[in-house]
């Protein structure tokens, strides 16, 4: 007999006193002493007994981890059949012992706890992989909890045990039961039947045990035991509170006070029968059963008549008062235990009310909710409060009051055909189960009147002080692990869908019809005659207005003046003719023209991932003004990029806007517009293009698509930039540099830039140095920095390893620079860049610009702050520490060869 084995094991535990704990003997004695000292009120013998139970459960749980899904399913099925076969036997025992409830209903409960629960769990996977989400790369793997300490109630004793045993075996857990003392014998029998059947069909010995003649101290000891993984406390508030106070993970579920709204559109015959079925089921012992029915005034009398016609006794005011004084304890305001689970006729007799012999239910009209209305509390017996409501609002309010009078999080019921009222009720109630047009108690159990998960344990959420609001089920008995595979991020490559390049590409603008075109440009473009060139190719009949903006990085006020022009001329086409500043200004003009509400400051909010940014740009209009960008420098690439940089004069900083809605619709890369570029501008913008390509190539967002463009641009720039610089009228060189600039821009439009740009933006804004020149000052130092092992790696799902150094080496190979090792190749690349910068006569140190060391040192905190706030570095392969930004600034200050000069210490002044 399993019970004998259980007894024997318990005895063995007492005799051996920790002798089998698995720990080394000395340690065992020590821990035993410590435990004994802590367990005030428990004898050493009792502790040894409890330790024996826990140890036995721990062993069973450990052994159980080896079982397969097929093993547990086989055992569960056998247990369910045993439970069904013993449903009446156990129900009878429960009735005999507890004197609560109805035999026939307890049989049904035992059957629901086995058959219905089995129906829910039978096809569920609870061992190993239980769910797979291949599209998300997630696999959920179930692991048992181990030892569960389970408290079971007096009201549903055997059904709760059956239910929890099935859940435990299905999830490979061992359970130590602590039944309500007044239902111990029937629960012991239920545990025994389940344990015998489980072990007979292969479950590990000791998988279920039951505390004998236990006390609250016993419970407290086991609850706090280090080898108990979870407490599942179904019962009164005391048990639930003890469980939650133990410091252990707990499923504490407890009392309710179910309000019912019987609304005037309801099917009254159905409602009345359902309420009677539910409230009389097992004499009202299910905590989800109806407690107070709030009835619309229009149907109130009719409903009571129907109740009376089906065997309910409608109490007079005097009877109600008498009932309230008797079945509710006036001291505590709670139901009297002697009434729990008793028949209506017995309660009537107890109180002294005369009722018909076949009376099923006592209905007590109440005038309010609260302590002064005793029958408005939970009553686990067939006494039902009823309240007449004059409106939906009043009805909902009273239901809320009932809900808040000890029933938070539990169950609420509504009978109605009005979906709006049902919805309102659902929103108003704080209940895990809101049962619609069906009996509360059986409805809440799930699987009978609805598709909720079958349970004998109702989670009441935080309102009820519980950790869950669910119908407690197998998933609460599992640790579900998530195996998350690395998923390649979705990438993109977005550029304007029309890019026209090579000489006379500008002719293509004649294919774009327009009523009103605004040419945004700067004074020098007019002087060079470029504006006239553009005008020449616009279709006949196009009204053209030229908006000339200053030849400098645009400020917001310049943009807003342009927007006024766009509005005035109702522009349907904008042609940006100029360098990066002009094109950027035109991008923002279009944005504000089409979305005046757009807040530029807000749109410039920082973000880590373009796709997950908090601030979204306005939705692109379907008939938006066309933006044609004609680049007149070979560097910024603004003609194809989604970026726009504004200058914030007030704060001395650059504000970067980034969104693909900013990208021009058409890009014109025509070398005729760059033939007149001065040498200095050729050098500065050319280095900007080179920086774009280099940074895009090593960016954490680099992809084969961006690499194709970046790695094509780099050799073109190395070859043609010096020629364009030294021979400005060399059209072939100008053409290739113009194309290289656009290629680099397409790369960084999609892979972004890096820390070089963050440093250059900060430094350029603070000391008013041209962007390309600022980039040049940083470039050799940043490459060396990125090519070395990072102090801090940049988290990057798109990269499978740190490849920046290897990519630089590949660039060196592409340039034919030679070298055997990666380090040599990186050094050769830096040297080649140094030589290129020398050839372009670019200043090689910040010091050369006439900025004193003292001034630079004073500016350092601001420089570092601005650089760190700049979004550019977030795609850098190496995450820059602020101290490293300081170091890089100083290297740029010192200039060439600083990295190899001995004795130069970085000044950490940020």
């Amino acid at each position: 007999m399993i019970s004998e084995k259980m007894d024997e094991r318990a005895r063995t535990g007492r005799e051996k006193e920790n002798g089998q704990s698995g720990e080394a003997p000395a340690k065992r004695q020590e821990s035993s002493r410590a435990v004994t000292e802590k367990a005030a009120g428990l004898s050493a013998e009792r502790i040894a007994y409890l330790e024996g139970l826990v140890r036995q459960a721990r062993t069973a749980a450990a052994v159980f981890t080896q079982y397969t899904q097929e093993d547990v399913d086989r055992i569960v099925k056998a247990m369910v059949l045993a439970g069904l076969a013993n449903a009446e036997h156990l129900a009878r025992l429960a009735i005999e012992e507890t004197k609560i409830g109805v035999l026939e209903d307890k049989v049904i409960k035992n059957m629901v706890a086995t058959e219905f629960v089995y129906n829910y769990v039978k096809d569920k996977r609870t061992v190993g992989t239980i769910h797979e989400y291949p599209e998300r790369g997630i696999v959920e793997v179930a692991a048992p909890i181990g030892v569960i300490f389970s408290l079971t109630p007096i009201t549903n004793p055997t059904s709760t045990v059956l239910f929890k045993c099935i859940m435990a075996i299905k999830t490979r857990n061992a359970v130590i039961f602590s039944p309500h003392p007044s239902a111990w014998r029937c629960c012991w029998e239920a545990v025994k039947i389940m344990a015998e059947t489980a072990v007979k069909h292969g479950a590990p010995e000791g998988v279920f045990t039951c505390l004998e003649s236990h006390t609250l101290e016993d419970n407290a000891y086991v609850m706090r035991h280090k080898d108990v993984g979870l407490i599942d406390a179904t019962g009164g508030p005391g048990a639930v509170k003890a469980a939650y106070s133990s410091g252990k993970p707990a499923l504490g579920v407890g009392a309710g006070n179910t309000p019912v709204y019987l609304e005037k559109t309801a099917d009254l015959d159905m409602a009345v029968v359902d309420i009677i079925v539910s409230k009389t089921f097992d004499n009202g012992t299910i905590c989800a059963s109806e407690q107070t029915v709030v009835i619309d005034d229009e149907i109130y009398d009719l409903v009571l008549e129907k109740f009376a016609g089906l065997g309910a006794h409608i109490c007079s005011a005097k009877e109600t008062e008498l009932l309230g004084r008797t079945v509710i304890d006036p001291k505590t305001g709670s139901m009297s235990p002697m009434a729990v689970g008793q028949k209506a006729t017995d309660i009537a007799r107890m109180v002294g009310i005369s009722v018909k012999p076949n009376t099923k239910l006592l209905i007590a009209p109440i005038q309010g909710v609260g302590r002064e209305h005793p029958l408005s509390v939970e009553k686990l017996f067939p006494v039902l409060g009823v309240y007449r409501a004059r409106s939906v609002a009043e009805a909902l309010k009273v239901c809320i009051d009932v809900n808040h009078l000890g029933g938070l999080g539990h169950t609420a019921v509504i009978f109605s055909r009005n979906d709006d009222v049902i919805q309102k009720f659902g929103e108003a109630m704080n209940a895990g189960r809101i049962i619609v047009n069906s009996p509360g108690s059986i409805g809440a159990l799930g699987g009978v009147y609805n598709d909720m998960v079958p349970t004998f344990s109702f989670g009441c959420g935080t309102g009820g002080g519980n950790s869950t609001m669910d119908n407690v089920n197998i998933y609460h008995y599992l640790n579900i692990k998530r195996l998350a595979r690395r998923t390649p991020p979705q990438m993109w490559f977005r550029v304007p869908n029309q890019i026209y390049f090579n000489r006379n590409a500008v002719e293509n603008i004649r294919q774009f019809p327009s009523r009103s075109t605004i040419i945004v440009t700067n004074p020098s473009m007019e002087q060079f005659g470029h504006v006239d060139t553009v005008r020449r190719y616009l279709p006949a009949g196009t009204q053209v207005h030229v908006e000339v903006i200053p030849d400098a990085e645009p400020e917001a006020k310049v943009v807003m003046k342009g927007v006024e022009t766009l509005n005035f001329y109702k522009a349907d086409q904008i042609i940006a003719l100029g360098g990066g500043s002009v094109i950027d200004a035109a991008k923002v003009m279009r944005l504000k023209y089409e979305s005046p509400e757009a807040d530029l400051e807000e749109l410039a909010a920082p973000f880590l991932d373009l796709r997950k940014r908090v601030i979204q740009f306005p939705t692109v209009k379907t008939n938006r003004a066309r933006l044609i960008a004609i680049a007149t420098t070979s560097g910024t690439g603004s003609e194809v990029t989604p970026f726009a940089v504004l200058f914030d004069k007030e704060h001395g900083r650059k504000v970067t806007l980034a969104d693909y809605s900013l990208s021009p619709d058409v890009a014109i890369v025509d070398p005729q517009f760059v033939m007149s570029m001065p040498k200095g501008l050729t050098a500065d913008t050319g280095i900007d293009a080179l920086t774009h390509a280099l940074e895009a190539a090593v960016s954490v967002f680099a992809s084969p698509y961006t690499d194709a463009n970046a790695l094509q641009a780099i050799p073109l720039i190395f070859k043609y930039l010096p020629i364009a610089y030294e021979h400005p009228r060399d059209e072939a060189a100008r053409t290739m540099m113009h194309n290289a600039s656009c290629l680099a821009a397409m790369a960084f439009s999609n892979a972004a830039v890096g820390v070089n740009h963050a440093l250059a933006h900060s430094f350029g804004a603070r000391f008013h140095v041209a962007h390309g020149r600022a980039n040049a000052l940083m470039l050799p130092h940043v490459i060396r920095y990125n090519a070395s092992v990072p102090t801090k790696f940049m988290p990057s799902p798109n990269q499978v390893a740190y490849v920046a150094d290897k990519k630089y080496a590949a660039m060196a190979d592409g340039l034919g620079l030679g070298g055997r090792t990666t380090e040599e190749k990186v050094n050769h690349l830096v040297e080649a860049i140094e030589q290129l910068l020398d050839r372009l006569a670019v200043p090689r140190s910040i010091a050369e610009l006439g900025i004193s060391k003292e001034e630079f040192e004073r500016a350092m905190p601001d420089l570092v702050k601005l650089a760190f706030e700049d979004p550019s570095w977030r795609s850098n392969p190496r995450m820059p520490l602020m101290s490293e930004l300081v170091e890089l600034f100083w290297k740029a200050y010192e200039g060439r060869g600083v990295a190899s000069r001995a004795g130069v210490e970085p000044r950490l002044t940020a």
């Binding site: 089998q20 698995g22 749980a61 080896q66 181990g146």
Partner: protein, 91 residues
């Protein structure tokens, strides 16, 4: 039979998952004993109790017990019942 397991020299080796036999070996042995668990499919509570006894006897006798060929599943069970630290493990 003395065997060498690289870093560990053994004085006796038990080749079958007979826990009683293993215990007897341990009682008679000195130094170290290897228990071959490679044939153990699933360990049950009875076997766990036997292993615990084995560990107790080994402690008293001052013998080290090494388990060979323990499956991942069995290793996990030994960790859960806190027996893992009382044995050494051989591949």
């Amino acid at each position: 039979m003395a065997t060498s397991a690289g870093w560990q020299t053994t004085d006796a080796e038990v080749g079958a998952p007979s826990w009683q036999a293993a215990r007897e070996k341990v009682e008679r042995a000195e130094g170290e004993v290897v228990v071959d668990c490679s044939a153990v499919g699933r360990i049950d509570p009875k076997a766990l109790r036997a292993l615990e006894d084995l560990a107790d006897v080994a402690d008293i006798k001052g013998v080290k017990v090494a388990l060979r060929g323990v499956s991942i599943e069995m290793y996990k069970v030994l960790k859960l019942v806190k027996l893992g630290s009382r044995f050494s493990f051989l591949p």
